[in-house]
Symmetry: C2
Subunit: 187 residues, 2 copies
DNA sequence: ACAACCATGTAACGCGTTACATGATTGC
DNA sequence: GCAATCATGTAACGCGTTACATGGTTGT
């Protein structure tokens, strides 16, 4: 089985979820579209690692709520302690930074300011998620015994990294300013 | 054309490179194997965006050194200012953290200590890369006019994020210790 | 001896995205 | 009226990995 399969099992340890919900919750540490998640869940179900119940809703479409089975838990537990594949990062913006010399200073600044803006949105969103969790579960959240501990750790991590990204952008903007001052000074 | 194609063009702006070298240099912001890079370079060459010269070597296999063409530069320049696709991150370790509650505290600690170790190696390597660059190019490196400016920015960014990852792991280890203390205190 | 590095390439397969398909409800 | 949210699914395609193939040199 592949990493995404295990990731879904792991998320179902926290609480039973629909495929729709899993697709969204995935965002903190993986990216996958529903078109990948739904067929995988069907496969996990066929393999006896998860089960689902139909839930009828009014005013919303019906949904399938998936739960992890004992068999699924056994497999997942084995997987958790195995060595992990190195993280994969693919960031188009960074590819553009590589070639930033092609643009003028002002355009470069604009690009970094836009990056800051998009990450500030993420940070605000992340902080909300964290404080919501803290309100709901309190200090219990910081114990490994809490069902939401893992997710909480990932939120804190994401927040830190997003803030660091912003700090880096500001540092770059500083460099871009210096360049301009020196150029002006030389005149 | 896809993002990797542009990424390769961007790297060739800095200096002409072989496919082998490009595959390695890619590591700061993208991941791709040589089996993907070589055919893409062939395609870029057919499209007139890069050219190459055969370089015979003694004691080493011959290589092809690729350079970006004017046409390639035009295309790349257009691309740089376009909005970027959101970054993609897929990290198996983080998927495991989600389900960390399945393991005992000691195993969890071991996993985080291993993560710290692997990131400390990365940090050490990154610092070397940065100081090598600084020795070679000096303060010129911090100007947008420097050919290596973009790459330098990416190195600094990676270093920061890798250090932040380590700090997060230490924070988690602290939480795991607290849990243990409370459990002991309760006895 | 054996692994690692340099260097390029192809083929098969699996993972992931885009697009197509449906349909009710809520907010602007 | 139009977009967004909720909810699930399939099909086609493109991106990315694994494995196969070759072969000399350097270091342990």
């Amino acid at each position: 089985m592949n990493a995404l399969g295990y990731a879904l099992l792991g998320m179902l340890m926290r609480k039973p979820c629909s495929g729709y919900e899993l697709t969204q919750l995935l965002e903190v540490f993986w990216q996958a579209k529903h078109s990948q998640v739904y067929p995988l869940l069907t496969k996990l179900e066929q393999d006896g690692l998860v089960t689902f119940v139909h839930v009828e809703q009014t005013g919303k479409p019906d949904k399938k709520i998936y739960s992890i089975t004992d068999e699924g838990q056994t497999l997942l537990t084995q997987w958790v302690t195995k060595p992990s594949a190195p993280p994969v990062i693919r960031d188009e913006f960074l590819a553009k930074v590589y070639a930033i010399g092609l643009t003028d200073t002002n355009t470069a600044k604009r690009l970094f300011r836009e990056r800051i803006f998009s990450f500030e949105e993420k940070v605000a969103f992340r902080k909300e998620e964290i404080s919501q969790m803290q309100e709901e579960y309190g200090s219990e959240l910081e114990q490994i015994t809490c069902r939401h501990f893992g997710r909480y750790l990932l939120f804190q991590r994401k927040l830190k990294l997003e803030e660091e990204e912003i700090a880096w952008c500001h540092w770059v903007l500083g460099l871009l300013d210096n360049t301009k001052i020196n150029a002006t000074a030389k005149k």
